[in-house]
């Protein structure tokens, strides 16, 4: 059995210690910028000084006390939830289809479904605005949710197709052989076994929508989602409310990550 540690040990080159030092510097580069916002969010003053002169929780109070921040957050949760449900349902059916049949076409179909990943969001926004302007869907929350569903779909399909390829279809076939209908077999045998993939897919879909700025900016008229509110706040007034919002988002992500890591039995690489 190959021991993971021995994997690159054969590469006994003199710079091994140096590689470790370099790698930890890169890790610091990845994480440190996020930690910088924590002290700022507890700042007592209203301008950007690091470290702050005094500390308070006033920016958290500002966030929770502001109707416009709360409205923007609720709107983003609504749009994100609808986009997540739609993309997970459609993506699950799609992933079932390409892993169960269509052998010659499944590769091409999967590539086709991943196309939204490489189209720049500004190009997609301009295209969708032109279409939605004709349909009268600009300025509706469900218009944004539909556009977000398209953007979430590739992530859902990648995660679920990988999960379904690992899953042994014979179990489902056995259940059908024992008299279950296919629908029952999928619901009671397949879905419970790929539950962690489904949760990862839903999580990725939700944050894709919840963080999306450009499409939401083009398709909303007067109201704004949370990213739009954050963008305006950074561009126009830049007070530490944005730092408080940032810290709340980071805490949410860390909690979600712990839950998903536990579900995936500690195998973090499966989430990537």
């Amino acid at each position: 059995m190959s021991h993971p540690r021995s994997r690159l040990k054969a590469l006994k080159w003199p710079g091994k210690g140096l590689l470790g030092v370099f790698s930890w510097l890169v890790f610091i580069f990845l994480v440190a910028p996020l930690l910088v916002v924590v002290p700022i969010s507890f700042s007592g003053g209203s301008y950007l000084r690091f470290p702050p002169d005094s500390y308070s929780v006033r920016w958290y109070q500002t966030y929770f006390g502001s109707q416009s921040w709360i409205d923007a957050t609720l709107l983003s949760i609504l749009v994100g939830t609808v986009a997540t449900i739609l993309s997970v349902v459609l993506g699950f059916l799609f992933a079932l289809g390409i892993t169960r049949g269509l052998r010659r076409w499944s590769g091409a179909l999967e590539k086709l479904a991943l196309a939204p990943m490489i189209v720049p969001s500004i190009v997609y926004s301009v295209s969708m605005y032109s279409l939605f302007a004709k349909l009268g869907l600009v300025g509706t929350w469900y218009g944004i949710a539909l556009a977000h569903t398209v953007l979430c779909l590739p992530f859902v399909i990648i995660v679920l197709a990988a999960g379904l390829k690992e899953y042994d279809v014979d179990q489902e076939t056995a259940a059908i052989g024992l008299g279950a209908s296919r629908l029952v077999a999928i619901r009671r045998i397949t879905i419970p076994q790929i539950r962690s993939s489904l949760l990862s897919a839903a999580f990725l879909a939700f944050i894709t929508s919840f963080d999306e700025l450009v499409v939401a900016m083009f398709l909303s008229s007067t109201f704004g989602t949370l990213p739009k509110r954050m963008f305006d706040n950074i561009r126009l007034q830049i007070d530490p409310t944005i730092a408080a919002v940032s810290v709340l988002e980071i805490v949410m992500i860390v909690i979600a990550m712990f839950v998903l890591l536990r579900m995936n039995k500690g195998e973090a690489s499966r989430l990537a």
Binding site: L30, A113, P116, L131, R235
Partner: protein, 285 residues
């Protein structure tokens, strides 16, 4: 029961499963993009292409976007490759921690990360403080609102996209190959250049492709960290549409950006195929 009939039924079932997602993509993704392309070719709009090509400013912006994307890609490759090698040599626990550190920034909102960089590079931010404290500079200097800030922030945002495909391809390499190379008398350098690099080149190209393509369309970082000094295509498109309400010009610029992205994507795909073939040739001789 007729086996062929059963097979056809299974295919029809699979087709029924994929069709809702395909319908959505067709109606709300491929159709609007194709529509955009056709609109730019209609009537007076076609003249916009000539305007884009003949205008020094917009060509400058395209060139600038490409240059920034290439810088970010090269820096990320130099950071990600050694890191991927390091992570693949870690214990399972070490790997879990490493992934945690990579995925947390990847999953954090881009606006949060952009704001973090504004704090970091601010006049009274930590970097300026440290530089003053070290005596490198006498007074805080302008770090934010510059191309440097945009490149630094983009490098941070894109790093996981470079790292994950490279890590994937390195972790798939059979470690006994390294022993074999050593047994055959290869030193560390030739093991690196003749075993590790050729076997991970697909991951490298996948990472390069992803980072280049994403960097070409980047909007948030130049808008917020560039302070109006870093013109990129996405900003130009937003300006045409949002400020000038010139949707025809925004459409033409979008179409040109889309073509540049497609060409980049296809060139790297072609390169990947060349490398795969080249490797087979080396192995057979």
């Amino acid at each position: 029961m007729n086996l062929r009939l059963q097979a056809i039924k299974a295919q029809a079932g699979a087709l029924a499963l994929v069709s809702p997602a395909l319908a959505l993509l067709g109606l709300l993704f491929f159709y609007p993009i194709v529509l955009l392309f056709f609109t730019t070719l209609e009537g007076d709009n076609i003249g916009n292409y000539a305007k884009v090509v003949s205008s020094g400013t917009s060509m400058q912006v395209f060139f600038n976007t490409l240059r920034i994307a290439v810088i970010v890609t090269v820096v990320d490759l130099l950071l990600a490759y050694p890191l991927a090698v390091y992570i693949s040599g870690l214990s399972p626990t070490g790997k879990a921690i490493a992934f945690f550190l990579v995925l947390i920034p990847l999953w954090t909102s881009q606006l949060v990360r952009t704001y973090a960089w504004m704090v970091l590079l601010g006049r009274q931010g930590p970097i300026n403080n440290i530089l003053v404290w070290l005596g490198v500079i006498d007074a805080p200097i302008r770090l934010a609102n510059s191309e440097f800030a945009v490149v630094a922030g983009m490098t941070h945002i894109m790093l996981p996209y470079m790292l994950l495909p490279i890590y994937n391809s390195i972790s798939k390499i059979d470690h006994s190959l390294f022993d074999a190379a050593k047994g055959l008398g290869a030193g560390a350098l030739s093991t690196f250049t003749r075993v590790l690099v050729p076997l991970s080149i697909q991951g490298v190209l996948a990472g390069v492709s992803l980072v280049l393509v994403l960097s070409l369309g980047v909007f948030i970082m130049p808008a917020l960290l560039g302070g109006g000094r870093v013109p990129v295509i996405a900003l130009l498109i937003e300006q045409q549409a949002g400020s000038f309400l010139n949707w025809a010009m925004a459409g033409t610029l979008s179409a040109v950006l889309m073509v540049i992205v497609m060409i980049t994507f296809l060139v790297i795909k072609f390169l990947t195929r060349m490398f795969v073939r080249g490797r087979i040739d080396v192995a057979s001789t």
